[in-house]
Structures are given as C-alpha cells and as structure tokens.
Amino acid sequence: MTDILSYGFIQNALWAGVLASIACGIIGTLVVVNRIVFISGGIAHTAYGGIGMAFFLGISPLLGAGIFAVVAAVIMALITLKDKNRSDTVIGVMWACGMAFGIILADLTPGYGVDLMSYLFGSILAVPDSDLVYMGVLDIFIIGYVLFYFRQIHAVSFDMEYATSMGVRSGLIYTVLLVMSALAVVLLIRVVGLILVIAMLTIPPYIAEKKVCSLKGMMILSSILSLVFTIAGLYCAYVFNLTSGASIIAVSSVCFFVFILYEKLKEKLRS
C-alpha cells in the first residue's frame, strides 16, 4: 500500500478525490434535495459549447466552459423560477444545443481535430497541481457560500414560497445555487469527467438522505461516502488495472444497489 502512495500522480489523485468529494458532498446534497439533477446535467452539457468555442477562439477551455456554464445556470434559474412545470423541456433543448454548438465549432477549428469526448471521462490519474489549486479555491467558495447562507439555503430548498414570505431573496439564493453547481460541475468535469460528476453528485447524497435527517448531516455524510468510494475505486483501478473513473463509478453503483437492497430487505423484515 505504501509504495502506491509514493507516486506523485497517486497523491494528486487522492487530493483531487478529497477536494472533489467535499464539493460533490455539499453541492450534491443541494442538487438532490432541490431536485435539480437534470438541470445540473443540462448545465454540464451546455458547457461543451463553451469548450468548443474556446478551441475555436484559442482561449482556455476551462474559461470557455466556465462562461457557458454560468450563463446556462442563470438562464435555467430564470426559466425554472418562471415556469416550474415545463422548464425541463427548455433545459433539454439547451442541453442539446450546447453540445451541437460545441461540436460544430470544434469542426470549424482549423489545424487539429479536437476530441471533445475526452471531457466525458476526464482523468483523475493525471491531475496537474494547478487543477488542485483551482479545486481548492472552488471548495472554499462553496463552503463559504453554504456557511454564510445556510439558513436561507435551507429555507429556500425546503419551501421557496414560505422563504420568500419571510423576506428571503429566494430567486437570488436559487440562482447562486445553480451557478455554484455549474462551477463545480465544470471544474470537476476536467478532473474526474462528466459521468463521474453526475454519479458523485447523486449517489452519496441519496444514501446519506436515508440515514440522517438534517441537511448538514447529509452534506457531511455524503462527502465522506464520496471520499470512501473514490479511494476504494482508485484502489480497485490500481489492483485490477482498470480505468479509474469507471472503477470509482462501479464501486459507488455497487454500494448504491446493495444499499437499496438492504433497505428493501429491512422493510420486508419489519412488516
């Protein structure tokens, strides 16, 4: 075990795992309780348009994706706040448009072919130090936002109408929440890949929600679960020589299904 840890890239992978787990545990909890998993997916895919644009204009892909994701988040927030029931359709359209736009711009980019698909998977085993710094800053932002506005976030997530009647600026809190998830998703796509982001945003909070009855507890427990899954997944990847991202998702999914089975069995036994 110790000789695995002596590799610099493994150390970076572990740090990335820790930082991603914190971000996913907190944002994932809010994503799950606000039922905005689909919106997060939409934001992430719209961001592809930004990556394509960045290649086309020759700017940093992270910047392009970031701009697109934030703009998409704000637009989606406005749409959802206006029309809760049909917003998912519009989000689906933006999702598709963003990806198409990105691919077309990448096609138009002269010189070399750009492989947008590599952004689906990311690589936690090749995380440069600079990305660790970005992730650290993001974590600080997320923790700061949640600590500072915890009660407002809590009230808005549970009952937006009531929160508004109490004087909370619900629309703003909700929009900032979407922008935060957009930033988290973009940064994490690069490190761990889109698919792993969605898995990490949803599986740990789902399990945590069944075990604790408070938002704070759910955030902490999902961060821990996320980290455990990441480390276990990385270890499996190393031992069995598998793709790291896929192996982390496999571990999480197995735990997810075992957990559901266990809950169902418990229910059966009780009745």
Binding site: V33, R35, R151, F158, E161, S165, M166, E209
Partner: protein, 249 residues
C-alpha cells in the same frame, strides 16, 4: 384617518393569470386584531387574494398596503400557511426543524437558535398539538398533521398578521377545535387573522367579518350582512336550496 390603523388595505386590486382576471377591482380594509374569513366557491380567487396580500402574484393594477406600507417593503410582517404544502416530503428535516424555520428571520447567522427560540418553537408545536412528533421526519405525518406543523412554523415567526389558506380543509373534529383554539389565542394576542374558509355552515360562527369573493368582492362585513340570500345565490349559483336552509337554521 391614519392609514396604519389598518393591518391590510387592498385597493382596486386586479390580478390575472391569463386573459380573464382571477380578481377584478377588489378593495377592502382589515383592521388590526380582526379575525376575517374569506369565503367563495372553488376557483373564486381566494388563494389568489391571499397571494396578492403577500405580494407573491403580479398585480395588473391596484395596491396592497400592510400597516400602511406597500407589501413589497413588508416581507416577514405576514406569516402564511399555504393551502396545500408544495414541499418535497422526503426532505431531510424534522418537525422541530420545520417549525424553527419560522424563527430564521430572527436568528443571526453565526448563532445557533437561542433558548428563547427553542422555547417559542416548543410552545407553538404545543399549541397545534404536535409536540409528540418533534423528532419525526416531516414526510412521516398525515396531511392534517403536516398542515399543523406549517401552522406552528407560521406562529413561530411571531408576525402580527397571519394568513391561513383553508386550514380546516380535510381535518377531523379534534383538529378543527385545536385550530380554533389557536386562532382564539392568536386573536387574544392582538394578531390579525385572515382565513380562507370553505364551510358556510360554520363561517358565521368562526369569524368577526367575512369577505365574499368570486372574482369580484361581493360583500364585506359582519356575517349577518354577508349572509344574504340574494348575494349567496348569486355567488353560489344553482345551490340556492342549501343556503335557504342554512339561512333559516
């Protein structure tokens, strides 16, 4: 007359969702400490009127003043219990947490709820007879119990005005009397209460003043004034017989 003698003033209020207005040119005033019932058939605009009093819906024209100030500047002065909670019942909160949300406007962000806040929440849960369920997750309650938790949350807010949208819908006799006790206690404390109510048979007994609404405001005043046959038959068209009996009895 000083305008802030009134808890709520609604002037020429028109609200529409589509081409047809849900409320048309509604004006009335509610004095401080009054217990007012809003009655009218389904789709009459009762809930819309409540939301307008909270500043939730866009007004085509008209003003809503709360203690003499525009409603937009009075957030937090009115506590509200919605007709049907549209919350996510799987949300990880306990009954006590939900009631504590009513105190959020009073809490400093870096402090935990003080002893006083906890006591207020406990007392409010006691008032709605939900003390035994404090640690229960909010989804693991019956509809009537959930409604009462929302009532405790609104009470905990300590607002001077309380709006309740059909608190008596679908509750049993024991709960109904518990809610009536809560209303009486709130009234004694000088709180202005506005309650949407469905049951005409009890409306005149429960409220000091009634507003009869069906898109327009048909009548406002003490029950004896509002419960006039020609008015009721116009508003509740085709169900005249019931009201004739009701007026006799």
């Amino acid at each position: 007359m000083v305008s802030s003698d009134y808890a709520i003033q609604v002037r020429n209020l028109t609200v529409s969702y589509g081409p047809k207005p849900a409320l048309l040119d509604v004006s009335f005033m509610i004095q401080k400490g009054e217990l007012v019932g809003i009655i009218g058939p389904n789709g009459a605009g009762k809930s819309t009127l409540m939301k307008a009093m909270l500043g939730f819906v866009k007004r085509d024209i008209g003003d809503v003043l709360v203690f003499g100030k525009p409603v937009e500047q009075c957030r937090g002065a009115i506590a509200y219990v919605p007709q049907r909670g549209t919350v996510d019942w799987d949300f990880p909160v306990t009954v006590a947490d939900v009631a504590m949300m009513g105190r959020y406007g009073h809490l400093k962000w870096w402090y935990n709820p003080s002893k006083k806040d906890t006591e207020i929440v406990d007392r409010c849960l006691e008032m709605v007879r939900m003390s035994d369920f404090k640690k229960r997750q909010i989804g693991q309650l019956s509809g009537g119990q959930q409604q009462r938790v929302f009532m405790a949350r609104a009470l905990a807010q300590g607002a001077q005005i309380l709006l309740l949208d059909e608190p008596f819908a679908g509750v049993d006799a024991a709960t109904e009397s518990a809610i009536l006790d809560v209303l009486a206690e709130a009234k004694k404390a000088g709180i202005t209460l506005v309650v949407v109510h469905h049951d005409l048979a009890t409306a005149s007994e429960y409220f000091d003043k009634l507003l009869l609404v069906k898109q327009r405001l048909y009548a406002a005043g003490p029950p004896s004034l509002v419960f006039r046959q020609e008015l009721l038959s116009e508003v509740y068209e085709g169900r005249l017989k019931v009201f004739t009996d009701l007026l006799k009895g």
